[in-house]
Amino acid sequence: MMKLDRRSVIAVAVSVSVLGGCSRSSSPPVDQSKAAVPGTASSPAQAQPVNEDAKALAGFLDRVNQYVALHMKLENTLPKLSKESTPQQVDSHQRQFAKLIQDARKDAKQGDIFTPESQAVVKKLISRIFSGPDGASLKASIMDENPGVPNLKVNARYPDEIPVSTIPPQLLQGLPKLPEEMEYRFVGNNLILMDTHAHIIADYVPNTFRQ
């Protein structure tokens, strides 16, 4: 039985409420105090999918938290950066840190954090947002200066030569909120989970939309 912490459930409640039909880009930010709690949908017919989606996303957040726990444990073994750190020190810290994570997760593979269940929910969310009136411009925004790479790999350094994609605010409203150490980005049409301190790809969802 998967253990879900309170933070995960709150974040998931927000995400699920977005999945439940908030597709307009001009929608106001979700009020967390009014967000649907998993399992409280208005009819039994709706309750089942909401529960399944919520469970999948809560599981995803739980695995993110496990990753971040490892991240913090390894980062604490390195000298801390100070406000006086030089670019040399920052760069060296980032690469050493990446190496530590890569060694600790040497068997990591696509789908370890984004399991098939959570990938399906993420794709559903993206599809719902893209099918709204602003879908085309959202896609264009994501694909702007985003050529993708031929071989995306878990644990690899985010490619230096390509800029980071813009993640539209509407999408960030819908996706589960990540801890400060992590962020979502797109490489091509693949949604990646990026470790921002180590500058590496922790996992990704392939082909989240049709280009």
Partner: protein
């Protein structure tokens, strides 16, 4: 007759009361000419003003970036701006330690030696982890932040990360705007809510998320980059948007003249902007790499 005059007077007064910002400007066609010894700046250059520059999309390490940096120093000799707001894409390509030197420290060393501080925002070409911890960008380890320059003028800058505008950042921004009692609240970031760029153009997602806050909290000017040219828009609901995205990069001929947005633009040469705030007025000059002052004007803040 008297009645008609009164009506006209009331109309004029209402215009000034309700038109959010009044812009008086002059712009000229761009000719690539060698710079004269003294630049024909049109700034009041008052001792108690806040003087600053705006620069974006610059970190290429190219000859053009260095030449524009030289021009900035020449302007600084005449108009000693205290700080430079960086609207993103601060380093292109790799961000190894030597890149910080070649693409930032070397070209702007004369300005930094003169005491000028740079305050960076992050563009889509910028690695947040490397740059927010880079001392000379004055980000204090943060991806978005606010600062009040050391000046007698009532000004606060709000620096956003527009490629990752998560709800927490928008909520933070609103709270900061709400808490600020500065007369001038000036946001800057990378992606332009309004732009005539054929390559990128206006970003409707950013606009939808931020424009209501700009309007609610009486923002008068917004500085952005991303499109590789200079553009000043006609006031959009009273707010003037600047695109200053040719600090090193340049996309020649990229301003789409059919948008109807452009009040002034330059897509023929690298450029930067200088501004001066004193009281309710902001004066600005846009200057090209060739030393041409091609756009000038004054903006009265919204109240």
């Amino acid at each position: 007759m008297l009645k008609r005059s009164s009506v006209a007077f009331v109309v004029v007064v209402l215009f000034f009361l309700h038109h959010p910002s009044v812009v008086r400007t002059k712009s000229t066609a761009i000719q690539a000419q060698p710079a004269a010894a003294g630049l024909p700046l049109t700034m009041p250059n008052k001792a108690d003003s806040l003087r600053f520059a705006v620069l974006g999309d610059f970190g290429t390490g190219s000859k053009e970036q260095y030449e524009l940096a030289t021009e900035m120093k020449r302007v600084h000799d005449q108009f000693p701006f205290e700080l430079v707001t960086l609207v993103g894409d601060n380093l292109y390509g790799s961000e190894r330690p030597q890149d910080f030197k070649q693409k930032f420290e070397d070209p702007y060393k004369p300005l930094m030696d003169a005491g000028v501080k740079f305050y960076a925002s992050l563009g889509n070409h910028d690695d947040p982890q490397e740059q927010r911890n880079y001392k000379l960008f004055n980000m204090d380890g943060k991806r978005y932040y606010t600062f009040k320059p050391d000046t007698k003028q009532s000004v606060r800058f709000f620096v956003l990360e527009s490629s990752y505008l998560e709800p927490q950042q928008v909520a933070w921004f609103e709270q900061q705007l709400k808490d600020s009692n500065s007369d001038w609240k000036i946001p800057y970031f990378h992606h332009p809510p309004y732009s005539s760029g054929e390559r990128h153009g206006s970003d409707p997602q950013i606009r939808n998320a931020l424009e209501p806050l700009f309007l609610k909290y009486n923002v008068s000017v917004v500085f952005t980059g991303h499109d590789h040219f200079y553009e000043r828009t006609k006031p959009q609901q009273g707010i003037v948007y600047f695109v200053a995205g040719s600090g090193g990069q340049l996309r020649k001929g990229n301003i789409d003249k059919s948008t109807g947005l452009t009040a002034a633009g330059n897509d023929q040469d690298q450029a930067f902007l200088i501004a001066e705030i004193n009281g309710d007025q902001m004066w600005f000059n846009a200057i090209s790499r060739q030393g041409k002052v091609f756009d000038t004007g004054t903006i009265t803040r919204r109240k």
